[in-house]
Amino acid sequence: MKRFSEQLQNKANSVKLRVAEKRDLRERVVSYMEYHPMPISVRQLGATHETEQVKLVHVSLWRILQISTATFGVLLLSITYLAERAIPGDSLYAVKVGFNEEVRSTLSRSPYEKVVWETERLNRRIAEARLLASEGRLTEEVEVEVANAVREHSDNARREIEVLKQTDVDEATLASIQLATAIDMQSSSLKK
């Protein structure tokens, strides 16, 4: 069919407007356009040009949105990273405890993971208290806060161990030992 089509095309291509014919035809069409201009109502519709403009605005808005999202992402990552080093009394400590650690809690799905994470949080609180003590910044107020936090995390861990016992006794025992060890270690180090 390609050969037939090509042969037909070659012959058909010989049929075309002469330059003068095309020029005259164009003049006739342009003249018609001039005598029948676009009404204002149609101009205001903006036809496709308007859609092109909308598209341009849409593209630039999309770009702004992309840049804003990227900037926000970088800012968020920087804050959360810096917050990880914060200790009680620092401005970013609330971010560390209230955002970073809560996000990680949410990400811990199984009861065992939750116990491990609560144990880790407990260790963190005690480590923070020790650091403050070594710097001479451990006030009574902070001590109370740390004690409350340790109690809260150990309670959370115990609660999760109870949940874990119902599904996996061995893992519950293991988690329970890890928690007890952590508490013992931290208590003995604090006594020193």
């Binding site: 012959k11 018609y32 149609v42 040009h49 092109e52």
Partner: protein, 193 residues
């Protein structure tokens, strides 16, 4: 400012369409109606009608399809004016069954087209009824697909495929007939020498 730009854009799009498609439209019309001056007039009328359509506030997504469709309607009107008493009229009459060839595939059309000399076919396109000439020109010269043609002439794709197939068969028969006549003439001439 936006209004002026919108109008300019509309005009420039329209004139770009003129530059891009006027030759192809003229070729199509000229082959269909075999009248150069009339073909130019039909192309002119096509563009003015499309411009008026835009003036009425209608949006034109594809100038190519729309221009071809308007031109095709004008060509059909032209045929109606001439009131041809040909197979065209019989086919355009209500209730004429053009057949249903579900087995008609592109490969059978391809095989049929492969047996035809395209150059001779071009010279003999005028001997075909316009319903067949129309689809053959759309398919093989304007290179539109059956679906596009079906939208253009407002028939089903099946009807388009059947017409392409029948048109090719008719062309082959006409070419064979021509060849036989020439051959007979040559032999007759030789006898009288």
């Amino acid at each position: 400012m936006l209004d002026d730009n919108s109008m300019e854009s509309h005009e420039s799009r329209f004139l770009n369409a003129f530059e891009e498609y006027s030759d192809a439209l003229f070729r199509h019309a000229s082959i269909r109606i075999s009248d150069r001056e009339k073909a130019i007039d039909l192309v002119h009328d096509t563009f003015t009608k499309v411009w008026s359509y835009g003036r009425d506030g209608h949006k034109i997504d594809s100038y190519r399809s729309f221009l071809y469709k308007v031109l095709n309607n004008l060509i059909i009107d032209e045929y109606r004016k001439k009131k041809e008493s040909s197979l065209d009229n019989l086919l355009s009459m209500e209730g004429v069954d053009e057949g249903n060839f579900p087995e008609l595939t592109e490969s059978t059309t391809e095989a049929l087209a492969a047996t035809i000399d395209g150059q001779k076919a071009f010279e003999l396109l005028h001997d075909l009824p316009d319903v067949y000439r129309e689809v053959l020109i759309f398919r093989f010269i304007d290179e539109l697909g059956p679906k596009e043609i079906s939208e253009m002439i407002e028939e089903t794709e099946n009807v388009v495929s059947v017409r392409i197939h029948r048109g090719l068969k008719m062309l082959r028969e006409i070419i064979e007939k021509e060849t036989n006549i020439r051959e007979e003439n040559r032999i007759t001439k030789q006898k009288f020498k």
